[in-house]
C-alpha cells in the first residue's frame, strides 16, 4: 500500500504538469480580454498599454514557463520564508492577479476560511444528514419515510441553489428578519455573542448547500445499503442469531460505507472549489466567487492558479479515495 501510494504520487507529478499546460492553453485560446470590462470611454490605445503591462505581449510559451516558475518555485520559496522566517533573498516575482494586482496565493489564503466554514460545514452537515436518511430509507424501503426522503432528495437535487437561496433570504431575512442576508467575511469570533452571530449568518448558506449535498449522498447511501441488505452474508448474520442493530449497523453499514466514503472523499475538492452560485447569493465571497469574478474579468493568472489548485486537489483526493478503498475493503490489494 505504501509503495503504491508513493508510486501514485510520483505519477501525479507529470500528470499535474500536463494538466497545468492544458489549462493554460485552454485559457489562452478562450476569447477573453482583461480590459473588456473597462468602461467604453477608455480608448483602445490605453487598453493596449494595459495589456502590454500585464505581459500579454510575450509569446505563449514564455508566459507559460513564467507562470510555472512563479507558481512552482517562487511561491513555495515564499511560503517557506514566511513559515520558517528564512530569508532566501532574491527578487522573486509571485503570481500576480491582473484584476487586483496582488499575489494570487494571498487572495486564495484570504478566501479559504470563509469557503471552508460555509461550504465545508455544509458538506459536513450534508453528510451527517445524508447517512442516517440513506440508511433508514434503505432499511425501510418503500415506507413513507423512504418516499418522503426520496421526494426531498429529488427536490434538493433538482431545485437550483439560486432558487432555494433567494427563497430562504426572502422568507428568513425579509419577512421574518431572523438571519442576515449578506455574509460578513470580516466577522471575528471572539466571544459567545459573536459566535452566535457567526452561526446566524452561516445558517442559510449552509442549509441551502447541505440540502443539495445531502440529497446526493443520501441517494448513494441508500443504494449502497440496498445492495448489501440483499446479500447472503446479511442472511448469514441473521442466521447467526445476531441482533438487528448488529446486523444493520455492523455488517450492512460497514460494507455499504465503502463506496460512500470514497464518494465523499471525491467530493471534498468541490468544497475547496466553493459553491459559486451559493457564494454569490449570500455574498460569502469565498473561492468560488473569486473564480467566477476572475473569469468574468479575464484575470488569467488567478483562473489558472485556482483551477490548477483544484486539479491538484482532485488528483490528491482521487488518490486518497483509492487508498481509503484499499484500507476499508480487504478485497482490494494494490501491491
Amino acid at each position: 500500500m505504501f509503495n503504491y501510494t508513493i508510486r501514485r504520487l510520483f505519477l501525479a507529478i507529470p500528470t499535474l504538469f500536463f494538466i497545468s499546460l492544458i489549462i493554460f492553453l485552454l485559457l489562452d485560446l478562450a476569447p477573453s480580454d482583461p480590459t473588456a470590462n473597462l468602461p467604453l470611454t477608455i480608448p483602445p490605445e490605453v487598453r493596449e498599454k494595459i495589456r502590454q503591462s500585464l505581459g500579454l505581449g510575450e509569446p505563449i510559451h514564455i508566459r507559460y514557463l513564467l507562470w510555472c516558475k512563479q507558481f512552482f518555485i517562487n511561491e513555495p520559496l515564499n511560503i517557506m520564508e514566511q513559515w520558517f522566517g528564512w530569508d532566501i533573498a532574491g527578487d522573486r516575482l509571485r503570481v500576480l492577479s491582473w484584476q487586483t494586482r496582488s499575489p494570487v496565493v494571498d487572495l486564495i489564503v484570504q478566501r479559504t476560511p470563509q469557503t471552508l466554514w460555509v461550504v465545508g460545514m455544509s458538506y459536513v452537515v450534508g453528510v451527517l444528514i445524508a447517512l442516517p436518511i440513506g440508511i433508514i430509507s434503505a432499511y425501510r424501503q418503500y415506507s413513507w419515510f423512504d418516499q418522503v426522503g426520496t421526494f426531498i432528495s429529488m427536490i434538493g437535487f433538482s431545485v437550483p441553489t439560486f432558487f432555494t437561496g433567494v427563497l430562504m433570504i426572502v422568507v428568513f431575512s425579509v419577512w421574518l428578519g431572523w438571519f442576515p442576508s449578506i455574509y460578513d467575511t470580516t466577522h471575528q469570533v471572539t466571544d459567545w455573542a459573536s459566535f452566535w452571530q457567526q452561526i446566524r449568518q452561516m445558517v442559510m448558506p449552509v442549509a441551502v448547500l447541505a440540502l443539495f449535498n445531502a440529497a446526493q449522498i443520501s441517494r448513494f447511501m441508500r443504494a449502497s445499503m440496498l445492495d448489501n441488505l440483499n446479500q447472503d452474508y446479511v442472511r448469514t448474520a441473521r442466521a447467526k442469531g445476531l441482533g438487528e442493530r448488529t446486523v444493520v449497523l455492523v455488517h450492512v453499514l460497514r460494507n455499504s460505507l465503502i463506496p460512500v466514503v470514497t464518494v465523499i472523499a471525491l467530493g471534498v475538492p468541490q468544497v475547496f472549489g466553493g459553491a459559486i452560485i451559493t457564494e454569490q447569493v449570500f455574498k460569502v465571497n469565498g473561492l468560488g466567487q473569486l473564480l467566477i469574478i476572475s473569469i468574468q474579468g479575464g484575470d488569467l493568472p488567478t483562473v489558472q492558479t485556482l483551477t490548477f489548485i483544484f486539479a491538484f486537489l482532485i488528483v490528491l483526493f482521487n488518490l486518497i479515495a483509492d487508498v481509503l478503498y484499499g484500507v476499508l475493503d480487504p478485497r482490494i490489494r494494490y501491491d
Partner: protein
C-alpha cells in the same frame, strides 16, 4: 446588535480623535454595498467604476464635479479659469493652488510634488495606467512652490480639466508610491490596496473583490467630519440582493447602481426601510435616422452619402415620426425612476441643456398626420402613406434587449397610427455594437432606415461628443465603416460650430455652441432622443446627506454623510 456596534464605533472613534474633534466619528458605522466588488483601491490600475468609487472615499482630486456637473474645488483653493488667470490665454497651461495645511492620512503634508509624482506615475509607458487618457497632451507638471501646481499642455486645451480632476484622476502620495513606477506598479500590493489619501476615510482592511473596512481619517481637513467612524464597503452579489439589503432588510445603508425593473424597485421600496434615489447624466436612448439610402440594390454605395434616403430625407416625415412617440409612456414602461423623457441628445450638464425642443415631450398623433398630409404623403388602400410611388415603410433595428424590444413594439404601433409601416429587427448586442467591418449588422453600417441605442460621453465636457455628427465622422467604406456619425448627417453650418468650439475657452461661450449644435440636430430631426437614462441607487432612511452624482463618484460627498436621528 446595531446599537452596540454604533456605541463601540463611537467609542473607538473618540479614542482616536483628539478632544477638539469631538464630532468626527459620532455616528458610528455606515454600511455600503456595491454588487460589483472593487478589486483594487488604486484607480490608476483599474478603469472600472467600482474601483473608482471605492477609491474616492480615500483619494481626492484637486476638484470634483457636483451633482449638476459643476466643478467644485476639493484639494485646490479654487478652480482655475482664463478669467481668474489660472488658465493661460493661449490655453496651454493651467495652474492650481492647493488648500493650506492639507495633510495625508499619515500626517505628512500634501505638496505640489505629490501632483508631479501622480502625473509621472500615470504617464509612465510601462505602467499600463488606466487613466492615462486624463493626462493626454500633458508635456509637463511642475511644482512651482509647495502649494502651486502648473500643468503644461503640448497643444491648446480649451478644456484643461483632465489632469487631477474627478474620480478618475486623484492625487496619490509620492512617498508611498515612490518605488511603484512603471512595471513595478502591480507589485506594490500594500500601496494599491491601502493608499494613503486625503479623503474622509482611510483603509484599515482591504479584501480584494470582497469587502473594504475603513475608518475616519484623523487628519481630514474638516475636523468635524466625517460623521461616521467606520465604513464597511461590501462587494459582490447582484443588484436585486443589494437593493434588498438596503430597502427590505435594512442591513446596509447604501446600495449602488440598482439596475432593476421599475416594479421590482417599487416593491422593495414599499417595505419602508429605504429610499430610491436617481440622478441623471448624459446617457440618452435615441433613435438615429438614416439620411442615406440603405437599399441593398445599391451594392457598395448602399447607406453612403452618394444616395439620399428616399423619404427620410423629407424633414416632414422625420418630424412626424418624432411627434408620434409618447416618451412619457416609454419611460414608465422601461425605466421608471431611472429614466425621464428628453428632447435633447445633449441633456446635461445643466449649462448645456437646451430648452428649445421641449415640444416633443407631448405625443401628438393628429398633428403628425396633418403634417404628412400637408407634405403630400397620402394614405393608400392598406393605410400606408405614399408619395410618388415611395411608401413610408421603415426597417427599424436595435440590439437584443427586453426593454428595447418593448420600445420597438410600442413605436411600431404609434407609427402605424400615422400611416407609417414598420418592420422590426433586433440584433445581438455583441454583433450590433461589435464594429466588425465584415458584418452587415453593425450599428455603424446602419443597413436599415432607423436604429435605436443609447450613448453618452465621459465627464462633463461635450466637445468631442458633439463632434460626432461632423460630416467627416460618417461611417463609410473608406473608413472601414468606423465613425460616430450614424445618421450620415452632413451640414457645413454644423461643422463650423464644431470647429469653433475646438478653439473657444470660455465656458459660457462653449455652452452656447454646444446648445446650438444640439438644437440643430433636434430641429432637423436627425436624432430622435427618447429617454434620458439615469443612475439609480438606494439609501436607508436613516442615512442623511446622500447627494447622488453621476458626474463624479457617487460617494463624492461621503464626508457629509451622517446618521439621521429619531426617525
Amino acid at each position: 446588535m446595531r446599537l452596540t456596534k454604533i456605541l463601540l464605533g463611537a467609542v473607538a472613534a473618540m479614542a482616536m480623535s483628539s478632544a477638539a474633534q469631538a464630532e468626527r466619528g459620532a455616528d458610528g458605522q455606515v454600511n455600503i454595498i456595491y454588487w460589483q466588488a472593487p478589486s483594487t483601491m488604486n484607480p490608476y490600475l483599474s478603469g472600472g467604476t467600482k474601483e473608482l468609487e471605492a477609491a474616492s472615499l480615500v483619494l481626492e482630486p484637486l476638484a470634483r464635479y457636483d451633482q449638476d456637473g459643476n466643478m467644485v474645488p476639493f484639494l485646490a483653493e479654487d478652480v482655475p479659469t482664463v478669467a481668474n488667470g489660472g488658465v493661460s490665454a493661449d490655453l496651454t497651461t493651467i495652474t492650481w493652488k492647493l488648500k493650506e495645511g492639507l495633510k495625508w492620512a499619515d500626517g505628512s503634508a500634501v505638496t505640489a510634488a505629490d501632483a508631479v509624482f501622480t502625473w509621472k506615475y500615470c504617464s509612465h509607458p510601462e505602467g499600463g495606467c488606466a487613466q492615462s487618457e486624463k493626462y493626454n497632451d500633458v508635456t509637463g507638471v511642475e511644482a512651482v512652490d509647495d502649494r502651486t501646481i502648473k500643468v503644461t499642455f503640448g497643444v491648446s486645451k480649451p478644456f484643461p480639466y483632465g489632469p487631477f480632476v474627478g474620480a478618475q484622476a486623484p492625487l496619490i502620495q509620492a512617498a508611498q508610491f515612490a518605488n511603484c513606477l512603471g512595471a513595478k506598479a502591480p507589485e506594490c500590493t500594500d500601496a494599491n490596496f491601502g493608499p494613503i489619501g486625503t479623503g474622509p476615510f482611510a483603509v484599515t482592511d482591504f479584501r480584494p473583490n470582497d469587502v473594504i473596512s475603513l475608518e475616519a481619517n484623523s487628519n481630514y481637513r474638516d475636523p468635524a467630519k466625517p460623521a461616521f467612524a467606520k465604513v464597511t464597503f461590501k462587494g459582490g452579489g447582484d443588484a436585486a440582493a443589494a437593493g434588498r439589503s438596503v430597502l427590505e432588510t435594512g442591513e446596509f445603508d447604501y446600495a449602488w447602481n440598482l439596475q432593476l425593473a421599475p416594479d421590482v424597485l417599487a416593491n422593495m421600496q414599499a417595505a419602508g426601510k429605504g429610499t430610491v434615489v436617481s440622478s441623471f447624466g448624459t446617457l440618452v436612448e435615441r433613435i438615429m435616422i438614416n439620411m442615406t439610402n440603405p437599399d441593398p440594390a445599391l451594392g457598395d454605395e448602399r447607406a453612403t452619402a452618394k444616395h439620399a434616403h428616399p423619404f427620410l430625407s423629407d424633414m416632414a416625415v422625420r418630424k412626424a415620426l418624432s411627434m408620434a412617440v409618447d416618451r412619457k409612456l416609454l419611460v414608465e414602461i422601461g425605466y421608471g425612476d431611472a429614466g425621464r423623457p428628453t428632447c435633447n441628445v445633449l441633456p446635461a450638464p445643466e449649462i448645456y441643456k437646451s430648452s428649445a425642443n421641449d415640444a416633443c415631450l407631448v405625443q401628438d398623433i393628429e398633428s403628425a398626420k396633418k403634417l404628412l398630409d400637408d407634405a403630400g404623403w397620402v394614405a393608400g388602400g392598406d393605410g400606408v402613406r405614399a408619395k410618388d410611388g415611395k411608401r413610408l415603410s421603415i426597417l427599424f433595428q436595435s440590439s437584443t434587449n427586453a426593454v428595447r424590444q418593448d420600445f420597438q413594439a410600442l413605436i411600431k404601433q404609434w407609427w402605424s397610427d400615422i400611416g407609417v409601416e414598420t418592420e422590426l429587427r433586433n440584433i445581438d448586442a455583441s454583433v450590433f455594437f461589435g464594429g466588425d467591418p465584415a458584418s452587415p449588422d453593425t450599428f455603424q453600417k446602419f443597413f436599415a432606415d432607423v436604429e435605436m441605442y443609447a450613448n453618452n460621453f465621459d465627464g462633463t465636457d461635450p466637445e468631442s461628443y458633439m463632434a460626432n455628427w461632423e460630416c467627416k465622422q460618417a461611417p463609410r467604406p473608406e473608413t472601414q465603416w468606423q465613425g460616430n456619425n450614424m445618421p450620415r448627417y452632413c451640414n457645413a453650418d454644423y461643422d463650423a460650430l464644431v470647429a469653433e468650439m475646438a478653439k473657444t475657452g470660455d465656458l459660457n461661450e462653449r455652452a452656447r455652441l454646444a446648445k446650438a449644435m444640439n438644437d440643430k440636430l433636434m430641429q432637423e430631426y436627425i436624432i430622435l432622443p427618447l429617454v434620458d437614462r439615469g443612475r439609480v441607487s438606494a439609501h436607508s432612511n436613516t442615512l442623511g446627506g446622500v447627494v447622488l452624482n453621476t458626474w463624479d463618484s457617487e460617494l463624492w460627498n461621503a464626508a457629509d454623510w451622517h446618521r439621521v436621528k429619531s426617525q
